[in-house]
Symmetry: C2
Subunit: 457 residues, 2 copies
C-alpha cells in the first residue's frame, strides 16, 4: 500500500514545483548560486588576511582600493571607477601602555588602546587619580571641584537585556564618542572608557571619539571590559590609586583616497540606480573581517551572482565600496554629493555593515508605503531566515542619500556576536562562518532582484 | 515644540507598559534573568574545559555524571537522582593513521579518524586500492567484481543548498551510518567516509556507524573534507593508488552509567511532567561544548532561572541529562521505559541538541492541535528571535517518549555553524557565544513557563 501513496506525494510535489512563481525560482537560484559558486568567502579571506587592517589614509587602505578595483573589473561589471575623496589620517603610533599603582594592591598593567581620533599623551604620559562615573549626569554632579586634574573613567556597561545588541551599543556609546570632551569641560586631563562589549573580555575595543572644538582635547583610551571591572573594584578599595597611561597617536594631514564603484547598466530604466554597499576601511587593530570586509565582499558578489545567472537588470545596479566610514564618513558624504551634482536618481541603497552573520531580515529608513512593499516580499524570503522587516535602520555610508529620497535599507544579520569582535584585534577571518556570509550575500542579492523587478513605487 | 511630543511619547509608552500582559512580563523577566544572572555559560566552561570529552563508559562520562548531580543539587531542585543505565564502551585506542601511495604523486598522510563503533585494523593495518562512490546505487552497480578486496570511499558531500544544515546532514549521513555494512556486502575490506560537513576543513568528523549483524564488520574511518577532495583528485589521476590505514579502536563490555535528573515538584497538577533535556555524553575527540554540553547547561539553568524568579510551577518540571545519545541511545530508552513502568505522565519533553546558537524557534513531533497551541504563543516569543514553529523534530533522547503521547519539542537554534564543529576536536568552549547560549536557555525557559501555565490540551 506504500507505493501508490508515495507516487501521489511525488505528483503533488511536482505540481507544486510547477506552480512555483518565477520569483521563487529566481530567489532559489540566487541562494543556490551563492552557496555553491559564491566567492564572498574567498574574497574575504584575501581582504582580511593578505591586506588586513585598512584605516583611512593607511597603506592598507590604499592596497584595499587597488584590490577592490581589480576584483570588480574581474567580476564582470560593465564599468568600474574610483571616486576621489580626501580622508583623515589618524595614526596610533607606538602601542599604548597603562598601569595602576595603589598602596593597597601594588601595580598592575592594564589592557587598553587609544580611541580613534584621540590626541596622544606623548612619552611623558599622564599620571593622575581616577573618578569613575556611569554617565554625564554623574559627571555634572561631581563638577569641576572633584574632576579637575583627574582622569575620568566612564564605566557604564552595554545593557545585556537588549535583545538586539546594536540597541545596547547605542545606549552606551555616548561615553566613547562624547565622553572625552564632556570630561574636559570639568577639567579632566584624560579619559578611560569601558570597551563597548556585552561580554567580559581581555582585549580593548577602539572606535571614534568626537572632540568638541570649544573644549581642550584630552587623551582618551578604551579599557578591556575585564580590566574595567578590575579598575572599578580597586577604586572601591583605594580611592587614591594612581593611573598612568601613555599613547602616541596623532592626527596627520588629510590624504587622497577613493570610493570604489562597479556598475551594471540597466536595460529598461537605466536612470534608476540601486546600490549594494559596504565600507572598505577598517580600524587599525583589526583585519576588519566582520567590520566591514563582509559587507564589501557581499556587495561585490551580489552583483557577480546576478551576472553569473545571466540576469539582465531593468535598472542600473552598483556595488559601492566606501572609504572612511569609521572615522569621518567622508566617502559616503562624497558619494551623495556627487550623486546630487550629477542629478542621479538612486531609488534604493542597501548597505551591509552589521557583520556577515546569519540572516534575520532588513532594517529600513523608508516611507510606510515602501516598507509595506518590501514586507510584501516576506513570503518569498522567510524560508531563508529573513523574517524581520520592521526595524528602523539603513547604514552610516548610505545615510547622506536620504535627503535625495533614496530608500535606505540595511542588511540585518543576527546581532549577537558582532560586539565580541567590533573594533578589536579579534575581528579576524576565522570568526566568519562561510555559510552565514554566503547566506547574507544571497539575501542582499534577492532584495536587489526584487527591487529591480518591481521598483519601490 | 519638541517637549510636549516627547512627553506624549513617554505617556504612551507607559500606558503600553501597563498594558503588557502577565505573560509578556514573565517572559521578559526570564530573558533578563538569563542574560544578567544566567549560569549556563560558566557551567559550560567547566563541563567543556575541566571535564572535557565524555564518551559513554569513559572516565570523563563518569566525572560528568558526578558534576551534574552536584550542580543540580546546588541549583535549588527539590529532588535530584541518578537513573542507572548500562552503556556501550567503545574506545579509540592509539591515534589513527592513513596514507596514500601513488606512482604518480608519491605518498601523503591524510587526516582521518575511526568512526564510532568501528572495529580496528590492529597494527597490521589495511592496504588496498580504493573505489570512490557517491551512494549505495553506485556501489550496487559496481558489484562484488569491482569492490571485492578494496576500500570503498563514500564521497557524496552534504548539499550546501539546503538552508537548514540538518537537512543536508540527513541527506548524507547514510554513508557514515550504513556505508560500512553496505560495502562489506560486496566484499570491501575497509571504508573511508567523507566527513559530514558542508565546509572544506582539515579535521575529520567522527560519528556512529551501525553494523548489520548479518555482514562481516569491516574497519571504517572518516576523512577530512579537504583530504576527501585530494583523494578524489588523486584517484582520477591514478586509479591504482594504494590506501593504507591503521586504527586501534575496539568495543569493550558494557559499563554501568546514569541519566541525571533534577525535579521541581508542581503545586497544582503535580502528576503532569514537563522535561527540559540534553545529553551528557559527547564524542571522545571533542570537549562537546556545542554537542551537547550546551543543551545540558541550558536545561539545568532553565529550571534554576524559574526558581530564582520565585516562580512556583503548576506542573512538575524536570531537567533530564541523558547518557549515551551518541552511540546507543540507552539513556533515552531507559528513561522512557522507567516512565512507562511508573505510569508517569509526561505532557511535554523539550530537548536542546542542535547547539547553543542564536534562537530561531522550536521543532516538534506533536498533533496539529498541540502545534497550533504552541504557535499561538508566537507573538510572545518572536521578539526574541523565535519565529519558526513549523518544522518537524524533537530530539533523539526524547524520541522514545513519543509512544506515551508526550509532545516532543526540539529547541531550534540557527543551524549554520553546527556542522563546522559537530563530532570534531573543534567542538570547544571558545566556539560558544555567551549571548547566544543564554538566549537559548531563556527560550527553553519561556516555553516551559507557557506549557506549565496553560498545558497543551
Amino acid at each position: 500500500m506504500k507505493k501508490p501513496i508515495l507516487n501521489l506525494a511525488f505528483l503533488l510535489s511536482m505540481t507544486m514545483a510547477f506552480a512555483q512563481t518565477q520569483d521563487e525560482i529566481a530567489i532559489k537560484t540566487i541562494f543556490d548560486t551563492s552557496l555553491k559558486r559564491g566567492k564572498s568567502y574567498s574574497m574575504l579571506e584575501y581582504l582580511s588576511t593578505s591586506i588586513g587592517s585598512r584605516l583611512s589614509g593607511s597603506p592598507g587602505a590604499a592596497t584595499a582600493v587597488e584590490w577592490c578595483k581589480t576584483t570588480l573589473e574581474n567580476s564582470g561589471f560593465d564599468t568600474v571607477w574610483l571616486q576621489p575623496v580626501m580622508v583623515p589620517h589618524w595614526i596610533r603610533g607606538q602601542k599604548e601602555t597603562a598601569r595602576i599603582s595603589s598602596k593597597k594592591s601594588g601595580t598592575m598593567n592594564l589592557n587598553v588602546c587609544a580611541l580613534g581620533g584621540s590626541v596622544g599623551t606623548g612619552s611623558t604620559g599622564i599620571n593622575a587619580g581616577v573618578i569613575e562615573v556611569k554617565n554625564f549626569d554623574e559627571l555634572k554632579q561631581l563638577g569641576k571641584k572633584n574632576i579637575n586634574g583627574k582622569i575620568v573613567f566612564f564605566n557604564r556597561p552595554m545593557d545585556p537585556t537588549e535583545i538586539n545588541a546594536f540597541d545596547a551599543y547605542s545606549g552606551a556609546v555616548d561615553q566613547r564618542v562624547f565622553g572625552p570632551s564632556e570630561a574636559a569641560t570639568y577639567g579632566a586631563i584624560g579619559v578611560i572608557v569601558r570597551s563597548m562589549s556585552p561580554n567580559l573580555e581581555d582585549y580593548p575595543h577602539t572606535g571614534m571619539l568626537r572632540y568638541d572644538s570649544a573644549v581642550v582635547k584630552i587623551p582618551a583610551i578604551a579599557i578591556s571590559t575585564k580590566h574595567a571591572e578590575v579598575l572599578s573594584k580597586l577604586l572601591k578599595e583605594d580611592r587614591s590609586l594612581q593611573f598612568y597611561f601613555e599613547t602616541h597617536c596623532e592626527m596627520l594631514a588629510d590624504v587622497a583616497s577613493f570610493n570604489v564603484i562597479g556598475e551594471l547598466k540597466g536595460a529598461e530604466y537605466k536612470d534608476e540606480i540601486i546600490i549594494v554597499s559596504g565600507h572598505l576601511d577598517s580600524w587599525d587593530l583589526a583585519q576588519g573581517a566582520q567590520d566591514d570586509g563582509a559587507g564589501c565582499v557581499q556587495s561585490i558578489d551580489a552583483l557577480r551572482i546576478l551576472k553569473l545567472m545571466g540576469y539582465k537588470s531593468k535598472r542600473t545596479l552598483r556595488a559601492v565600496l566606501y572609504m572612511n566610514e569609521e572615522n569621518g564618513l567622508r566617502g559616503g558624504t562624497e558619494y551623495a554629493r556627487q550623486a546630487a551634482l550629477k542629478k542621479e536618481k538612486h531609488i534604493a541603497a542597501i548597505e551591509s555593515d552589521e557583520g556577515g552573520f546569519t540572516p534575520r531580515g532588513f532594517s529600513m529608513t523608508v516611507s510606510d508605503t515602501v516598507r509595506a512593499r518590501i514586507k510584501s516580499w516576506k513570503p518569498l524570503l522567510e524560508h531563508y531566515g529573513l523574517t524581520s522587516f520592521d526595524e528602523e535602520g539603513g547604514g552610516a555610508d548610505i545615510g547622506p542619500l536620504e535627503e535625495q529620497g533614496t530608500a535606505l535599507i540595511g542588511y540585518l544579520p543576527d546581532s549577537q556576536r558582532y560586539f565580541s569582535y567590533h573594533h578589536t584585534a579579534e575581528d579576524t577571518f576565522d570568526k566568519v562562518s562561510q555559510r552565514e556570509l554566503e547566506l547574507g550575500t544571497a539575501s542582499m542579492t534577492a532584495l536587489v532582484y526584487l527591487i529591480d523587478q518591481y521598483g519601490l513605487k
